[in-house]
Symmetry: C2
Subunit: 168 residues, 2 copies
């Protein structure tokens, strides 16, 4: 299906037709829809959307992160993020603590209620991801991650790799 060859130098060559690459593009499109479908369904009833989910996810992932840090991870403007954070704080899902060293900074934490929602959302998303992983097998998962990482922008890859170090 996808042909690969090796030169003497050991460099991998891929003989990819435009058609094969296009299938990859479309797979990405459809898969991302599935990827967001479950959290979207959960959030549909509430006054929250995908933007709230993303904020909650990364606050959960990096408790105490600053607004600026979150900004660069999410890749949106502070005004856009602020609107989301404001509602989350007002609704008691997120707590914003003034920094101790630098009192300009706000450190963000999930409240118990926020953690509960995070759990609900990520459970749904993780279930789907886990099912996909199981269906595809370990080798496929490794390849999946490799291609995704190669598809990121430089800055994002750095962010991602930095999070890898801190993670697990």
């Amino acid at each position: 299906m996808i042909e690969g060859g090796r030169t003497e130098g050991g460099q991998t060559l891929l003989f990819l037709t435009d058609e094969q690459v296009r299938k990859g593009i479309e797979a990405m499109f459809f898969a991302y829809r599935g990827f967001t479908a479950d959290p979207d369904r959960i959030l549909a009833g509430m006054a929250y959307g995908r933007a709230h989910h993303r904020a909650i996810h990364f606050i959960h992932r990096s408790p105490g992160t600053t607004v600026n840090n979150l900004l660069s991870i999410l890749g949106v403007t502070k005004q856009s993020l602020n609107r989301v954070l404001r509602t989350l704080i007002a609704e008691g899902l997120v707590e914003s603590r003034i920094g101790r060293q630098d009192k300009r900074e706000r450190h963000l934490h999930l409240t118990d209620e926020g953690s509960a929602l995070e759990q609900r959302l990520s459970d749904a998303q993780r279930d789907r991801m886990r099912a996909a992983y199981r269906a595809a097998g370990p080798a496929a998962v490794a390849g999946f991650r490799q291609v995704l990482e190669a598809m990121m922008d430089e800055d994002m890859r750095r962010q991602f790799d930095a999070m890898r170090d801190r993670g697990q």
Copy 2:
């Protein structure tokens, strides 16, 4: 990194920590950003957006497709799609031909100008995808596709597989 085992029955078991699955989720998030970044940049100057890109892509992919068909592929309402199609038709990028057998249907085609834009957009996106494929290697690409397909909703997978048959 990701451990896999096999039972006697031949069924693959994956021992995935929540952490590993979460990394997959975040990889998906960051990669999708990269995935759309290039077309977004191109479209930023024009009066078009991601929605126009998607319509153009699938009209290019299935010339003569009907509005209803496009609707179910894109997963949006007809009002939403109509807004996009209206501008594309008005700007002369898309042509809408009344069906011959069923005159209620409109068959959509790209004009030369529409094809030119499609080319620009997909060139950028394909370059990135191709680079990622090359960086990751053939085995990784196969795995990538397997996981993506497993991540889709049922209906979408059917759509996708149907397009596979017609494709290449």
